[in-house]
Symmetry: C2
Subunit: 159 residues, 2 copies
């Protein structure tokens, strides 16, 4: 609500009120920034750009909740986890829903990836994710929580 | 922007004085209400209390994101999905993190359940979830998104 923020600022500057400063509003620009986040994530994974994860994409207290494993807590552990992934031939992720308030937001989205056939048969996965994002003190939205699972049926026994 | 409209109305009525009515704060009482939500969910599942899901626990536009399946959208479809679950002998879920702002919040948590041995071998599952909650117009926090996955390794081929 940028106009609300502007109005509050004007009123405060004019000495009209003694209101507490409002928390930062969740604006259309915030939603746009968040819609770009899945693409930044997949680009960083495809490039092995760990600096992007360390500096821009993840909060220091980020938690990843991967399928068939336990929670991974903290940026260092999460980046180490990401580095264990097989090399990817392709990886896309798209935001389906984005919403938030103040300094918190979530993204629901879909993803798919194919692993490279360098050392093992190429494998394709597709699924969905839910991520929580926080506006840090520097104004950047970063991931605090990320959980995902597969759309595909479990392999049949014996396959 | 309903709050902006409200603010404008108040300012006009008050002859431009006064504070903006703030968005509802996310209080300790809200966090406490949310920490109780996983227990309300598991109690309703164990009891087959679909009225609780329809009236209290789920928003009308709720989205469930189950493992090994595609997204389920809308309260009617989600309740129908829950009704397909095997009978449960036990089901617990606990909030690990709760945070929010305004009318939005999330819960990260853990769960475990064991199915009843009525018609198939009892099966135990344990995992983690991330849910998004919205404060509806009636003041009740309800689930808008719920995603989960298993902590357990995938079954080995042939098992």
């Amino acid at each position: 609500m940028p106009r609300l923020a502007t109005l509050s600022t004007v009123l405060l500057a004019a000495g009209v009120g003694g209101c507490a400063p409002a928390a930062p509003s969740f604006t259309d620009a915030d939603a746009d920034a968040l819609r770009a986040a899945p693409g930044q994530f997949t680009s960083a994974m495809l490039a092995g750009n760990w600096d992007a994860f360390n500096n821009t994409l993840l909060t220091n207290d980020v938690v990843f909740l991967p399928p068939n494993g336990t929670a991974i807590e903290g940026r260092e552990a999460v980046v180490a986890f990401l580095q264990t992934f097989p090399k990817l031939a392709s990886f896309t992720a798209t935001a389906t829903d984005v919403a938030g308030a103040g300094d918190w937001a979530y993204i629901r989205g879909t993803f798919s990836f194919t692993t490279a056939a360098d050392s093992a048969p190429a494998m394709t996965e597709q699924g969905k994710f839910l991520s929580i994002h926080r506006r840090d003190a520097d104004g950047t939205w970063r991931i605090t929580h990320d959980i995902w699972n597969s759309d595909l049926p479990l392999p049949a026994p014996g396959n």
